[in-house]
């Protein structure tokens, strides 16, 4: 599929996708749980490390 964005209304049906977004959602959920119920250290540590690795890639 391809996307074309001429002058006009933004494409409001589009959503962000990808591993990074999914891991960030998981991290937010895990952090929410930690805040409410206590630590789940291993999962959260792994998620943070994986996110940092992806975000710190060669670009951007």
């Amino acid at each position: 599929m391809t996307i074309i964005q001429p002058y006009g209304v933004a494409i409001t049906q589009a959503i962000a996708s990808g591993d990074l977004e999914e891991m960030k959602r998981a991290k937010a959920l895990a952090e929410d749980h930690v805040q409410r119920y206590g630590d789940i250290p291993t999962l959260l540590t792994h998620l943070k490390a994986a996110i940092a690795k992806l975000e710190a890639g060669k670009t951007p």
Binding site: Q5, Q13, L29, L43, L47, K58, T59
Partner: protein
């Protein structure tokens, strides 16, 4: 960010109707139509390409307009954007919205929102309008000055809020000029607060009123600072529920392309100007173009009072230029660029309006970065005024100069145009072709042609880096699945 349990595995989304499928390309389906239904406007925008204000002398009648909708539906149009001027200054605009919706087209308007009253919004929603895009070019002082009417910013924000309450999809369009970048972070806060979910960004183009006000044009070299800012805001926006949409003249390759063109789907990248291939632009008098913004004098392909839309679409030369062109018509830096046959010099509207000839586009991040490595930058200077007509273009000189303090950088190497990779394009029975498909080098995250064994950007072994990336991806996917199972278990336990 939504932290409800369902947010981890959101329900599968419908593919946006505007996304082009391969059969759309092959069969030349005009998927998205942008239609100026009147040139009447109640703003006085200093950058207005169509010089809107008074209606055109011979705008389509209601019967002609509704027939035009029917013809577009028959050609397969799935999305309609009504623009102006100001679309709702046309008395029968509700009838047009309703006819588009009767055909099942996704229908929205792009507006400056001055005097967009509750009554007008209510009528539009009742007729089936689905989306409202509001043009906002900065914080109040800048916006009101550029739009030429005090108080227009407040009216724009008000329209966003009211449309959101009515259940419309609300988005914002922002044009980037030299003063805009400093406004963007605060503007993002404000439009999120007002309910916008999507934010289309595009550069102001040297057309119409913008030629009269060249100070509103970003200089190409300024992209080197603007693009990282946009990238940062893109990432922040995603976390805050606002998806930045980079318009057709934000481009084209470079470090952010894989991040934002496909909103995370790296298989979607810039594939060249789509004017006349899957897009139609219409002027209020029934003039048909391949893109709404193209210069009328150069790209008016026909008139619906003289021909059917299908005949204009399938058989006129001026609409089909994008289907037939090759790298041979490109020139300047773009002619020898690595991405030449994928990019085709980006947005035709932007490059041709600026330089009087399509095929060379200095508003390119890849180009700006490449030139900077060699101590060079480009700026434009107006050398000719634009005539008073709607969608009029003029001419700017393109100046390449040394970046102060970088005079000793290595010179830009000479590149042989014969070495540009040509993507084989087989024409389908429907007249269209398959767009080029690039891959991402996992050594440097830049797009490369699929045949590459050694990355031309970073020199890495493409296959080895791909294997390493595949392992990383598998580990990430396993972690995500683990997180899903674990968090689902926590949620179940919490409910017991």
């Amino acid at each position: 960010m939504d932290t409800s349990a369902s947010a981890l595995s959101p329900a599968p989304q419908e593919v946006p109707v505007r996304f082009r499928r391969m059969e759309d390309h092959h069969n030349l389906v005009p998927v998205h139509v942008v239609w100026e239904i009147t040139l009447a406007c109640n703003l006085k925008c200093q950058h207005c390409g169509s010089r809107a204000g008074r209606p055109r002398a011979d705008e389509l009648t209601t019967a002609e307009a509704l027939d035009l909708v029917d013809q577009l539906a028959a050609l397969g149009t799935r999305e309609m954007t009504l623009i102006g001027g100001e679309a709702y200054l046309r008395r029968d605009w509700i009838d047009i919205v309703r006819r588009c919706r009767d055909h099942g087209m996704r229908t929205a308007i792009q507006t400056g929102a001055r005097n967009l009253t509750d009554a007008r919004l209510d009528q539009a929603v009742a007729a089936g309008l689905q989306g409202l895009g509001v043009s906002i070019d900065g914080l109040p002082d800048l916006h009101d000055r550029v739009r030429g009417v005090p108080g227009s910013y407040d009216q724009a924000i008000s329209a966003l809020r009211r449309a959101k309450v009515l259940g419309l999809d609300v988005s914002v369009n922002t044009q980037i000029g030299p003063e805009t970048p400093a406004h963007l972070p605060d503007l993002m806060d404000r439009i999120i607060e007002a309910g916008a979910t999507h934010w289309q960004i595009q550069l102001t183009v040297a057309m119409g009123n913008a030629v009269d006000n060249p100070d509103l044009l970003l200089q190409p070299y300024q992209l080197i600072d603007v693009m990282p800012l946009l990238a940062r805001l893109y990432q922040e926006g995603v976390e805050r529920g606002l998806l930045m949409i980079v318009g057709n003249n934000i481009g084209y390759f470079g470090p952010y392309e894989r991040m934002w063109r496909g909103y995370g789907d790296e298989s979607m990248h810039w594939t060249g100007c789509a004017a006349g291939q899957t897009t139609i632009g219409i002027e209020a008098d029934g003039t048909i173009k391949g893109c709404p913004s193209l210069a009328t004098s150069l790209y008016s392909a026909g008139h619906v009072r003289d021909m059917t839309v299908e005949d204009i679409w399938r058989h006129t030369e001026r609409i089909s230029f994008g289907r037939l062109r090759s790298v041979e018509e490109m020139w300047g830096y773009c002619r020898t660029c690595y991405y030449a046959d994928a990019c085709r010099a980006g947005c035709t509207w932007t490059s041709e309006s600026l330089l009087g000839r399509r095929g060379n586009n200095p508003y390119c991040h890849h180009r700006v970065l490449d030139l900077a490595k060699h101590g060079l930058r480009e700026r434009v200077v107006k050398v000719k005024e634009a005539p008073p007509e709607s969608f009029a273009i003029s001419e700017f000189a393109l100046i390449t100069e040394a970046i102060p303090g970088m005079e000793d950088a290595p010179p830009l190497p000479a590149r042989d145009p014969e070495h540009v990779h040509i993507h084989p394009r087989e024409r389908a029975a429907g007249g269209g072709t398959t767009p080029p498909r690039l891959e991402v080098c996992r050594g440097c995250d830049q797009y490369i042609w699929p045949h590459e064994e050694t990355c031309p950007h970073c020199g890495s072994d493409v296959a080895a880096e791909a294997a390493r990336h595949a392992e990383d991806t598998a580990r990430r996917r396993a972690l995500i699945e683990q997180a899903k199972r674990f968090l689902a278990g926590l949620q179940t336990a919490g409910m017991e």
